[in-house]
């Protein structure tokens, strides 16, 4: 299972570099810069493109908020980000509809063959089913509202069976807390994998950098 940690929006290059270093040292597989509702970056692709010049320490994922976005505008940003960051950049879509899942015919430049085809953010069982129906893997946020309360990261993995789990931070304090959660999830990983061997598929896609 891929464990992603979202980097909260910051207002300086130094703060971004510190957050990336912190996420890497905590053992995240991927640092994700996410637009709403998963994260709080206004433009996650811009932040990823900017961060590339700041010595990233681990693979970067980017969550684009598709709500109210024209599919062409959405895919233009994915295609250009690929050219900047290379085909290994990990794109994800939140707030998506079926019209957003594949690139429009009018898109130029055309997207490169993806090392990782765009994943979808799925916040409940229905969205997981929709993602599977369009042939995409999905990432679940933690703290999913459920009938029996709110699931944390482990609960989301247990109930939604996503391909990856994100730890979401919306402030510096929350980021610190999520890093602690990440260590807890890693500690529980052996048990989780024993029960759900299907969720290990993504770990091959994001080899850790030395």
């Amino acid at each position: 299972m891929t464990i992603a940690i979202t980097i909260p929006a910051v207002a300086s290059a130094d703060a971004l570099a510190r957050s990336l270093a912190l996420a890497a040292s905590a053992g995240a597989d991927v640092a994700v810069l996410a637009e709403a509702p998963l994260g709080d970056w206004a433009s996650a692709p811009d932040a990823v493109a900017f961060a590339l010049g700041r010595t990233p320490l681990l693979p970067l994922g980017v969550v684009l908020d598709a709500r109210d976005r024209h599919p062409l505008a959405l895919w233009e940003r994915i295609a250009v980000l690929q050219r900047i960051a290379g085909p290994g950049v990990w794109p994800l879509l939140s707030g998506w509809g079926e019209q957003h899942v594949r690139p429009p015919a009018a898109l130029t430049p055309r997207p490169l063959p993806f090392a990782v085809a765009p994943w979808l953010v799925a916040a409940d069982g229905a969205e997981v089913a929709r993602a599977r129906a369009v042939g995409r893997r999905c990432l679940a946020p933690p703290n999913v509202a459920a009938a029996d309360g709110v699931w944390g990261a482990a609960g989301a993995v247990e109930h939604l069976e996503p391909d990856a789990i994100a730890l979401v931070a919306t402030s510096a304090e929350a980021f610190e807390r999520d890093l602690r959660d990440l260590r807890d999830v890693r500690a529980a990983r052996t048990q989780v994998l024993a029960e759900h061997p299907w969720i290990d598929v993504a770990s091959e896609l994001f080899p850790r950098r030395s």
Partner: protein, 305 residues
Amino acid sequence: MEVGVGLWSMQQHHPVWRSLDAQYAELRREARLCEALGLDSLWISEHHGWYDGYCPAALLAAASALGETTQLRVGIGVMVAPLYDPVRLAADAAQLHALSGGRLSLGVAAGYREAEFDLFGVDFATRGRAVAERLAAMKLAWGSAEAPEVWVGAGVPAAVRRAARLDAGVLLPPAFSARRVRELAQLYRDAGGRRVGLVRDVWLDETDARARRVSEPWLTYCHAQYAGMAGIRGEQVRGATDRALASALCGTSATVLEQLSWVIELDLDLLVFRVRYGAQDPVDVERCLRLLAEEVRPALAGVPA
């Protein structure tokens, strides 16, 4: 006077086929070079749905250039404002401006290629009014927060007056005659405008003959592309490219400085030398940038902003 260079567009085309990946990498490398050479700003252009991959996400390209540098200002010159949701564009620009330590300049314009509006389902006929509405909404979204400086690309009197009314700088396009540029600058200032910028095609080389030989195919190609985008066909394309060749500042540093005299008299706030016309050989671009920074820029140092 701010001295910038432009306009990076990352096109993949005749006469030299070079990969887009290489061109985005060159943008980053050339941003570092411009900073090292002491140039003030680098400008990136945007169009949508053009066959050769013309950069459709200039803010994203700007982010990569800003991430590679610490002092260089990076400008968008320009993006088609009516195609954007103003609140989202304001937020995107503010984020990048803050991340980069206040080094983003945002150029917007009404656009002129109807096909782009069709792609996004936006009304072409009201694009001028849309620019004013978008900018007003963006200023509201920014409030008192630090925001990028805004330039409005304008080539006709109505757009120039609009830029002044919106309290934005005006960015005049390349390839206009000296007389036309003077008229538009005066019109803008008479309307209360406070910042005049000009994009001008330039090519510097070791001899005048080499400058023409290296630059003419690119200038011709570049302006034929823009003519095509504007719906100009047939013999009129030749007219457009001939005007561009005639107006370009082209030659050795001494020749170009001589050609610049009327530009200096304009008392500009921003002068963007266009040196990027497409997928040129980066060795040629670097030679031109070095001559610009080392031999032309110093002569402009005393020009007041």
